[in-house]
Each structure stands twice: as structure tokens, then as C-alpha cells.
Amino acid sequence: MSSADYSSSLLQIAAYIVLLALLCMPLGRYMAAVYEGRFAPEGSVIYKFEGLLYKLCRVVPTREMNWSQYACAMLIFNALGMILVYLLQRAQNLLPFNPEALAAVPADLAFNTAVSFASNTNWQNYGGETTLSYGTQMLALTVQNFLSASTGMAVLVAFIRAFVRQDVQDGYLGNFFVDLCRSVIYILLPLSLALAVFLVGQGCPQTLASYAVYEPLETAALSSGAADGKNQSVESAKVKLALGPVASQVAIKQLGTNGGGFYNVNSSHPLENPTPLSNLVQLLAILLIPAGLCHTFGVMVAQPRQGHVLLLSMTAIFVVALGTCFWAENSGSWQNPAWNLIDGNGLALPANMEGKEVRFGVVNSVLWAVATTAASNGSVNSMHDSMSALGGLVPMFLMQLGEVVFGGVGCGLYGMLVFALITVFIAGLMVGRTPEYLGKKIESFEMKMCSLVILIPPLVVLLGTALAVSLPVGQGAVFNTGPHAFSEILYAFSSAGNNNGSAFGGLSGNSPFYNFSLGTAMFLARYWLAVPVLALAGALVGKKRVPAGNGTMPTDTPLFAALLVGVVLVFGGLTFVPALSLGPVVEHLLMVNSR
């Protein structure tokens, strides 16, 4: 890379971070207003629409729920959603909007996809354009993109209320259905609508017409030659190009940190992400709401600095991860013996372009890989399986940190808040005082719930990986060789066990074993976390707020941000360094050695 390329790369990264910082603040304040019910004035159209929706659906908006009622409503709503997605896939051959006459989805794949989309993971064992009808993409997947995202946001809002409210005897946290509806109609729907129309302008299709069929340029030229009698041997051959309601699906897949694409190759497809501008805007959409929610938290607890500190901690980890990944992908020539060999013939660019698109180049591919795994988005604009060993380690580790560096909409921040509680607890142990966060005392029950939240994902990831590498059905699905094959399996369970959804795509995950094991991992990671988080909220909301004293550790300082980053990294490192050593680290050392 020349120095001009480096400066343009740095400029793109800087522009992205600055734009994100500028946009997430007003959005965060707006979202706080929405959840506090002070945005839509009584009598406005949207307020009336909200009221009508509640009336039609028998929702009593004034009814408060305690943590178990809230969790119950959330679980029932998600279970019903999962069943609907399953049924729509199984019957897609009988339903409308199926111009390509695609067959019903097999049971194991339909189960995997249903869990995948309801749990905001959006792991793609299905092949987009080759498996799912337009009807399934719209009525099953697009809908769950909205609902799984708003479920995460609702649980977060309930958790924030546990700090806002105090001494609530009945443990009321709000109404799940109201929080969910507000997330959809005030936040996700308007943003998606604007983004989708913008994306169509950039070149994303939005149509219900069947796939385009045509004779490509070269074949047409040759067959016209054949017609003149010059080239008899060439037959006219038509090719197909998959189209569909792409833009509407892509907009919400980014905003809701879902990540399940319309096409098999997700946002690297030229019709799903046609231009550098569409790429920048989609990248912004990935982190916009997770970053904005940090501000929402600060506004709702009436201490904006508390939100800034969380945002600062996330950004710090993000920037370091980005730098590491960028370096690894640009220094490919010394990592790959093949490229040295080409160098002898005069290779122009040492950067790793396998599995990357020319219009994005290395910098946008790396920026995306880091953003999509920092958030639990999981959409891709390059093939992570083809990244260099250390380049691929970065997205894997970001997922393994528990998806708390921005993370999924809602769930990322409640994960980070759990880490904040653990941080004040550890700090409290050091000085021998009862830890407190925002005036709420953190005691034994709270710590038990926090432990559940941070222990379940690593358990699912490591046990799942261990199971898959010990069984022939698990080993047989790998595509690459040596330690990279192990990385493919570790990546798959890191992704499913943290509800990310991106993949080392070489792994043939569409087998009964992986459909069920990864489906179970996604299920556990989502709901076994949300339930203890709500239990934690239920315990905290009943506590009185104690005024900050001399011994209280301030949690709105850069010092606390540094401590928090340390706790997140140490916990993730201790848990996953052994597994990462067997995969990307060994692969890297072998490649360096083979020169």
C-alpha cells in the first residue's frame, strides 16, 4: 500500500467514527424521550396510531409488569414468533410471493432459521436467493428483524428502569408490549423506511418481479456471430440474476443488528451493497442504535456522563481491534507463502484481496468485519473465512467478549451494564466496601445473576466447539485445512453462542447436527441471558437509592472506563486464549514458519 492509500484509509476510518459520534447523540436523546413516553404529544397522528394498535391487540398500556411477568410476556411473544417463522418456511411453496417456485424449507434448516432470526442472531445456514421465497423473506425474516431487535431494546429499557426507579415494592419495570411497540413504530420503522429508500437509490432492488433472465454480453456477441454463420459452436445461454424485496430487508438487518442478508453473501453482494456510499451508510446503521442507547441510558438515569463512560469503553476496544485487523490484512505478503511466490513475478498489491470486493478494498472490509462483530450484527461485506489468521482472530475475539462492545441493540448495553456491575463489585472487594452502581447496592443475588449472564455464553461456545470437534459429523463439515479448520468450528459457536450470526463460511453448517447444535446455542445465549437480566432488574428496582458517600467509587470517570475495559478483556482473554491458541494463533505461527 502506498502512503496515499494509507491516508485515505485513515480518513475513511476517522470519518466513520466522527459521523457515528455525531449521529448517535441526538438519536439517543430521542430514544430516551420515546421510552419515557414524552415524545408523541397526545392527539398527534402517531400517538393515535399507537393507541389504536394497543386497542386492537388487547394491550393495556397502563398495566405495569414485574420482572417475571415481563420475562413471561417476552418469552411467549418470542416463542410465537419462532413458531410463525418455522411454519412460514415449511409452507412457503403453498404461499404467495414465490415467483421462483422454491420448495418448502427442510425441517432442521427451518428450525435453525427460526431460532436464528427470533434470537437476533441471523446465522445463515440457508442460502438466501436459493432457499427462501420473497414471501418468507418479508413475512418471516423482515418481521423478526424488527421484533427481535425491539425485544432486545425492551429488555434494556426495563433494566434501565431498575436504576431510574427506586423502592418499588411490587417490582414494576414497565410493560413489555408497550416498550416493544414503541421501539418499532417510533425508532426502527421510520429509520428503516428512510434507509431503505436511500439504498434503492444506490442500487438495491426492491421488487416482487421474478429473477431477471438474460443473455450476458459475451454470449450475446458470440451467438450473434453464430447467427452470421461465423461461430456455429456457440449456443445462446441465458443466465439468471436474483432480485427481490432487497432494500427493505437490508435496512432493518443493519439497524436492528440482525445481519441476516437477502443474498447468500450478504452485504458483499453488489445488489445488497452496491457502492462505497451505501457501504458507509450501512456501516453507520450497524452501530447507530447500540451507540445511541448509551446516551439513552445516560439521559434516563439523569446522569449523561454515565452513558458517555460506557460509550468510551466500547470505543476504546473497538479502535484497538480495528487497528489490529487492518494491520493483519495489509501485511499479508509476509504471512502467506503463496504471495511471496507471486512477488517473484511482481505482485502489485500485498494486501489480502481473497474474499473482498474491489469497491470496498481492504479498509472498508476490515472496518465492516470489526463493526459487525463488535455489534452482534453479523452481516458481512467480505468473506471472514478468507481473512489472514490474525485478521480473522479479531472478529472472533470481539464476539467472544460477549457482544458487549456496542453489541446488539439493547442486549449489547445490558451486557455491558452487567460487566459494569462486576467491575464495581471487584473494585469494592479491593477496598472492602459494599459495591454500589448508580446508588443501588450490589449484593449476593445480583452477583449471582451477573455471573450467569457472563458465564453462559462462554460455556455454550466452548462446550459446543468441543462437542463438534469430537464428533465425526462435526469434523466432516469443515472446508479449510489444519488449524484453520478448527477456527471454522470455533467461529461458528462463538457466533451462535453470542447471537452474532457472521460465519467462517466454509463450514457446511446446513446439516442436521449443526442446524440443531447451533440452533440450541443461539437459543440458550439469547434467552438464558435475558431472563437473569430481568431478574436482576427485578431485584434492583425494589432497592432504595443510597446517596453517594466518601467511599463510593465514581462510575462516570475515565478511570472507571479503564477498569471496565480491563475487566471485559481479562474475562474474555482468560476464557478464550486457550481456544484461540489452537486456531488462529497456531495457524499464524505455522505460516510464518513455512517461509
Binding site: L208, L217, P270, L349, E587
Partner: protein
């Protein structure tokens, strides 16, 4: 339990209609109003009115008188109905061999100078329509020879079609090979050889 079930079911149905039907159809309506060409997949037609592809999606070119797109990992290269990348890791012998083979092929067809990396690596989608300017310019002498045209004319055509970074800093400079080949046919005819 039952208290939450009925609202949950009704809300799921209402949201399915709102976000699964109203929203995509609304986007489609607005798209048809403002961007009808893009909404249909940015399809391009030749002078006879027949569809020849999408301006955004790469195509396979094998003849020497056309610029070639990047290697594609789809089953049948540039298969627009089933996108995929190679997923090959840099440590995989298959990948090492494939790259070596591609370099040899380019050398055999007369490519001189440095081999641009995008000419010998598969794209993420298998449908990448672009090449870096250096990869397109490297092919200009080969295309010119096959078409019996002066090299500088073909090079000039390539240079005219270089798209710079968006707003001066976004993305990478690139050449759309489908549009370049189409322009080549328009300027010099489909059959000169």
C-alpha cells in the same frame, strides 16, 4: 400466563402485517416513484432492447477481446442466482495452488509487469463487477492485440472509465468491467477481430 398470551399473539399478527407487508410495499411504492430503474435491479439493455445484465453485477468474459473480471467462486462463474465466495483460507494449499495457476495463465496470455492482486483472487460475492485501475490497464495491451487496435486507444477508454473514490475519500478507485466491455463494443463493434 394466559394474560400475556392473547396480546402476544395479536401483536405478532399486527406486527407481521405492519413490518412484513406494509413496510416493504411502502418502500416498493416510494422506490418505484423515485428510483424505478434501481428498484428493478439496474438492468441494462442493448440497442436491440434485450436485457444484457445489470450495470452493478459482474459477468464472465473468456474471449481475449474482452477485459476479464476477477475469478469467481460461484458454481458456473458469475452465477447471479447463487452468490458465494471461495472461503479459502490463506493457509490452504488449494488456495496457494489456485493463485499460482491464475498467475501462470495470465503470464501465458501475455500479461507483462506486475500481476495485480485482484486479478488472481476471488471476490467475496463471486459477482464483483470491478477491477482496480491497475488490473484493468494491465489487460489493455491484450485486448488491443486481440482487436487489432492501438494500445493507447484502449488505454484511453479504460482511463475514461476509472471511477475515483466517492467524494474523494470513500471506497477504492475502480473500473466497472461490464460497462467497460460494453463501451468497447459500442466504440469498436462486437465482431472486430
Amino acid at each position: 400466563m394466559l394474560k400475556e398470551s392473547l396480546p402476544a399473539l395479536l401483536l405478532l399478527l399486527a406486527m407481521t402485517i405492519l413490518t412484513g407487508l406494509v413496510y416493504p410495499l411502502l418502500v416498493m411504492g416510494l422506490a418505484g416513484l423515485f428510483f424505478p430503474h434501481q428498484a428493478g435491479g439496474s438492468l441494462m439493455v442493448d440497442e436491440s432492447g434485450a436485457v444484457r445484465g445489470s450495470t452493478l453485477v459482474g459477468q464472465e468474459f473468456k474471449e481475449a477481446r474482452y477485459f476479464h473480471c476477477r475469478p469467481s467462486a460461484t458454481t458456473a462463474p458469475y452465477n447471479g442466482a447463487a452468490s458465494c465466495g471461495s472461503n479459502l483460507a490463506a493457509s490452504n494449499k488449494t488456495f496457494v495452488d489456485a493463485v499460482e495457476e491464475r498467475v501462470k495463465l495470465w503470464r501465458r496470455s501475455g500479461l507483462s509487469g506486475a500481476v495485480p492482486v485482484d486479478l488472481v483472487t476471488a471476490s467475496a460475492s463471486g459477482l464483483d463487477p470491478h477491477l482496480s485501475p491497475s488490473a484493468a490497464l494491465a489487460q489493455a495491451p491484450l485486448v488491443a492485440a486481440a482487436r487489432r487496435l492501438p494500445v493507447r486507444d484502449v488505454e484511453a477508454l479504460v482511463r475514461r472509465r476509472i471511477e475515483p473514490r466517492t467524494l474523494g475519500f470513500l471506497g477504492e478507485p475502480r473500473v466497472n468491467i461490464v460497462l467497460l466491455n460494453s463501451a468497447l463494443d459500442k466504440a469498436y463493434g462486437r465482431d472486430n477481430r
